[in-house]
Symmetry: C2
Subunit: 243 residues, 2 copies
């Protein structure tokens, strides 16, 4: 990790003097964490892989959602003893994107997603979205979440490496002027928790993306909640003042 820039250092010093910044900042994953989109991603990838002649069980695709598309394709090909070259990766990512965009209109926020974001904003607790999705798709998807200007939305387009690299979390923390050790990463996949661990942030898991609790705990989740609503109801457990 590089030295903090002057502006970041200045912001961090300011934070230390600001009682409103006594709370940690919260970095949310998007798919499966705030939006009920994982199973639509599985269907979109299955269709894409099938178009290229690869049969992969849905549960295996599911366990790769939250990785970058490139890593997902390479991982699933490798499991079949195949190698996905750059053109194949590119073609499959485009097919997935096309299939997924057709499904966006049926994606709904998860229980409590809007409420927890409004709660944090109302209490001036800093938060951001840090996702592996592309800018265009994410822009369409987050409309129902009503994200205010003050909350950055970091996508794969902002960083060199998508999850499980910690780059999106690093970028999000920097935008908020927080050290990563003062951030909580909330995600539904082991890739979020691996990224959190590599970024030295506290990881919290949500079950609403379809992973089991033990999978998230084994990946390093400090706590596991059912969905954003359950997280909001237990926010004190994360060191956030609930009222």
């Amino acid at each position: 990790m590089s030295h903090p820039s002057h502006s970041r250092k200045a912001r961090q010093q300011e934070n230390n003097r600001n009682p409103e910044r006594e709370n940690p900042a919260i970095l949310f994953d998007l798919d499966g964490t705030l939006l009920d989109s994982n199973y639509e991603h599985v269907a979109a990838w299955r269709q894409a892989l099938r178009e290229e002649g690869l049969e992969i069980p849905d549960s295996r695709i599911h366990r790769c959602i939250g990785m970058s598309g490139r890593l997902l394709v390479r991982t699933l090909f490798a499991e079949k003893g195949k190698v996905a070259g750059p053109r194949m990766v590119d073609r499959l990512e485009k097919l997935h994107q096309r299939n997924f965009r057709k499904r966006i209109s049926s994606v709904q926020p998860l229980p409590g997603a809007r409420q927890i974001l409004a709660f944090l904003s109302g209490r001036k607790i800093q938060w951001a979205i840090a996702t592996g999705g592309d800018q265009k798709t994410v822009g369409q998807m987050i409309k129902p979440l009503r994200v205010p200007e003050s909350s950055p939305v970091i996508t794969a387009d902002h960083v060199r490496h998508a999850k499980p690299s910690p780059d999106v979390f690093l970028e999000a923390a920097e935008r908020l002027g927080f050290a990563l050790s003062d951030c909580i990463v909330v995600g539904d996949s082991v890739w979020d928790l691996l990224g959190a661990r590599r970024a030295k942030a506290l990881g919290v898991g949500l079950l609403c993306g379809g992973y089991g609790a033990a999978e998230l705990e084994q990946a390093g989740a400090y706590r596991v909640y059912k969905d954003p609503l359950d997280l909001l109801n237990h926010i004190g457990e994360l060191g956030v003042q609930p009222t």
Copy 2:
């Protein structure tokens, strides 16, 4: 449980004298265990529930796949603080069935499903399918599995109570002339393992339905394998002679 019928007792006595029956019998769940159909069931239920105005996260629906439709509807309604009356249950089951049937053509066997069934038949090890699905849908779905006459296919239509009641396993064991304590139940959901436990059969879990390993182990799985192929490769661990 009632006393065994004379014919069953006779068959069991015959089994004890038959060296081919030294191996246990294997009772397979269908959805998520032999066929990659769970995520299609999730989509079909989501669509049905949405048509009746109920928004339920996909991961919650997923965790109820393998229950009877009636129990699934009642459970998901109860979680929302609502009560599903018999008419609502009936309407939702019909909607789900209609939605799912449109998707059957895209359902594929899971890796190793055909191989393990052929292996067992070839070695004259008794096996059956014991599923919560309805006769008509199951009849269409199992075609690619090439089930021989000698292997019974027990559906919800054959029993009074679907899983997690042990009725389908009891019926399957009876048809094979085996005591349930000499049967292995192979399933992907905690409902299969709960049924196995209630039936005093040995439960084995498969990950290919999308549950996590710890979820299956906590529900009583003696072993957890990736998919039918992985089970076939480790069949000796279940006390079945592999060659």
